[in-house]
C-alpha cells in the first residue's frame, strides 16, 4: 500500500509554485510601482496605492501615447555585460545618471529628457549616456566611458532602491561617494578620496548613513 498523502502534498506545492510563477510572469511588468517620495503627478493611479505592487499594469502611465512630459521616477539596473551598474533619477524633464563599476570607474552624467523619452546625458569626464525611456518602465541605452561602450537596462524602481550621493571632507580629504542601490538591495558604489577611487563602504539605504574612514556621513538621494 502506497500512501498518496505525501505525493499530494508535493503536488499541491508544485501547483502553487507554478501558479505563482505564471502570475508573476504574466503580470510581469517589472516596476509599475512608483510610491517613492519624489514622484509624480504623472501616475496618480499608481501612487495612490499604498502597496508597491506589480499587479497593476493597467494603471501604468503610457508616455508612448501621451504627449505629456516624462514622469519623475528612479531607474536602476546593470549593464548588459554585468560589469557595472547604472542608475538614473528623472525630475522635471531633467535627468542625473550615475555609472559605476563598484571598484574604480564611475561617472556622473546630467542632461535633459526629451518629451519622447529620449535623453543624452554628459559627464564632466567626457562620458556620454544615450538612453530611451520605454513605456515608463525602463530605460535602455548605452554609456560611453573611457573608450568603453556599455549597453544597459535600468528598470523603474522605488525607494530605497535608487541613486545616492555623499560629498564631504573627511580628515582633510575631499570625499565624494556615489551609490546605486539595485531593486534587489545590492549596492554598487565608488568612493573617491581626493580624486582616488575605491570601492565604497556599505550604505544604509533607508537612512543614507554610511561610515567613511571612521566618520559617519549621510548620503542623500541624488536629484538633477
Amino acid at each position: 500500500m502506497k500512501r498518496p498523502g505525501p505525493l499530494l502534498t508535493l503536488l499541491a506545492g508544485l501547483l502553487v509554485g507554478v501558479f505563482m510563477l505564471s502570475l508573476n510572469a504574466t503580470t510581469g511588468t517589472k516596476n509599475t510601482s512608483s510610491s517613492s517620495a519624489d514622484t509624480t503627478k504623472e501616475s496618480p493611479a499608481v501612487t495612490a496605492s499604498p502597496t508597491p505592487t506589480g499587479t497593476t499594469p493597467s494603471s501604468s502611465p503610457s508616455p508612448t501615447t501621451a504627449p505629456a512630459p516624462v514622469p519623475d521616477a528612479r531607474y536602476a539596473g546593470r549593464t548588459d555585460d554585468d560589469s557595472s551598474a547604472v542608475a538614473l533619477t528623472l525630475r522635471d524633464g531633467r535627468a542625473i545618471a550615475y555609472f559605476c563599476d563598484g571598484r574604480a570607474k564611475e561617472s556622473w552624467l546630467r542632461g535633459d529628457v526629451n518629451d519622447d523619452g529620449t535623453m543624452r546625458l554628459t559627464g564632466k569626464d567626457g562620458s556620454v549616456l544615450n538612453g530611451t525611456l520605454e513605456d515608463g518602465k525602463q530605460i535602455r541605452g548605452t554609456v560611453d566611458i573611457d573608450g568603453g561602450h556599455h549597453a544597459f537596462t535600468a528598470a523603474r524602481t522605488k525607494k530605497p532602491s535608487g541613486l545616492y550621493r555623499a560629498t564631504s571632507t573627511v580628515r582633510g580629504a575631499e570625499v565624494d561617494g556615489g551609490w546605486i542601490v539595485l531593486p534587489d538591495g545590492r549596492q554598487v558604489g565608488v568612493l573617491t578620496r581626493d580624486g582616488k577611487p575605491s570601492p565604497a563602504p556599505r550604505l544604509d539605504p533607508r537612512t543614507g548613513a554610511v561610515t567613511v574612514d571612521g566618520q559617519r556621513l549621510t548620503a542623500g538621494p541624488a536629484a538633477p
Partner: protein
C-alpha cells in the same frame, strides 16, 4: 498514546531495520529526486534573470515584509512539526490526533514556504555576494530537495528507523537557517513591520 510500529496506516515509526532488506530504489529514488529538485531550483535561480520585483500582497509595505511573515509562519508550523514528531515517537505525551497534527502542520509549513521561494527565485535568483545570502540561497534549494525526499520516503514502509528523523531534522535545520538568514535579518534590519 502508544504506537503500533507495524501498523500499515501509521506514518511513524518504521519497523526495526534488517529483518527484510529494502530495495535500494527506496533510498535512491528519493535521493535522486531531492538532488534534481535542489539543482533545478538553483539552476533556475542562477540562469533566470532576476526581475527585481514581483507582485505584492495587499496590506504589506513590501515584498520583504510579506515574505518574512510567511517564513515566520512556516517556522511556527515547523516547530509544531518538531513537537508533534516527538509525540509520534512517544518521546512526549501527545493526543491521539498528533499524527494528523504532524501531517497538516507540515503541509501548512510547506505551502506557505512555496510563495516565498517563488518570489526569491523569480525576483532575486541564486546569489552569492554575501555569506548570509550564499547560505540562504544554498539552503533554500536544499530545503525543497530534502523536503521532496522526506515526502517520498514517507511512502516507503520498511525503512531504517533512524532515517525519517534524520531527514526530517535536516529539513527543519535547513528551514531554521533559511529563516535566520532572511526573515530574522529582515526584522532586525528594517524593524518588525508589516
Amino acid at each position: 498514546m502508544t504506537v503500533d510500529p507495524n501498523a500499515v496506516t501509521q506514518d511513524f515509526p518504521s519497523p526495526p531495520p534488517g529483518h527484510r532488506r529494502p530495495h535500494p530504489a527506496r533510498y535512491l529514488v528519493p535521493a535522486l529526486v531531492a538532488c534534481a529538485v535542489a539543482v533545478a531550483l538553483g539552476a533556475y535561480g542562477k540562469v533566470h534573470d532576476p526581475s527585481g520585483t514581483a507582485f505584492n500582497l495587499a496590506g504589506f509595505s513590501s515584498t520583504g515584509a510579506v515574505k518574512s511573515w510567511l517564513a515566520t509562519a512556516a517556522i511556527f508550523f515547523a516547530l509544531v512539526q518538531l513537537v508533534s514528531a516527538f509525540m509520534l515517537y512517544g518521546k512526549l505525551p501527545g493526543p491521539a490526533w498528533s499524527s494528523a497534527l504532524h501531517r497538516w502542520s507540515g503541509r501548512a509549513a510547506f505551502l506557505v514556504s512555496v510563495p516565498v521561494a517563488v518570489h526569491c527565485l523569480y525576483a532575486m535568483g541564486y546569489q552569492t555576494y554575501e555569506t548570509r545570502v550564499f547560505w540562504h540561497s544554498l539552503l533554500g534549494c536544499f530545503f525543497f530537495g530534502a523536503f521532496s525526499a522526506k515526502m517520498l520516503l514517507l511512502r516507503s514502509e520498511r525503512l531504517p528507523g533512524w532515517l525519517l528523523p534524520i531527514v526530517g531534522g535536516l529539513v527543519l535545520t535547513a528551514l531554521t537557517i533559511i529563516w535566520l538568514t532572511s526573515a530574522l535579518w529582515f526584522f532586525r534590519t528594517f524593524g518588525v513591520t508589516t
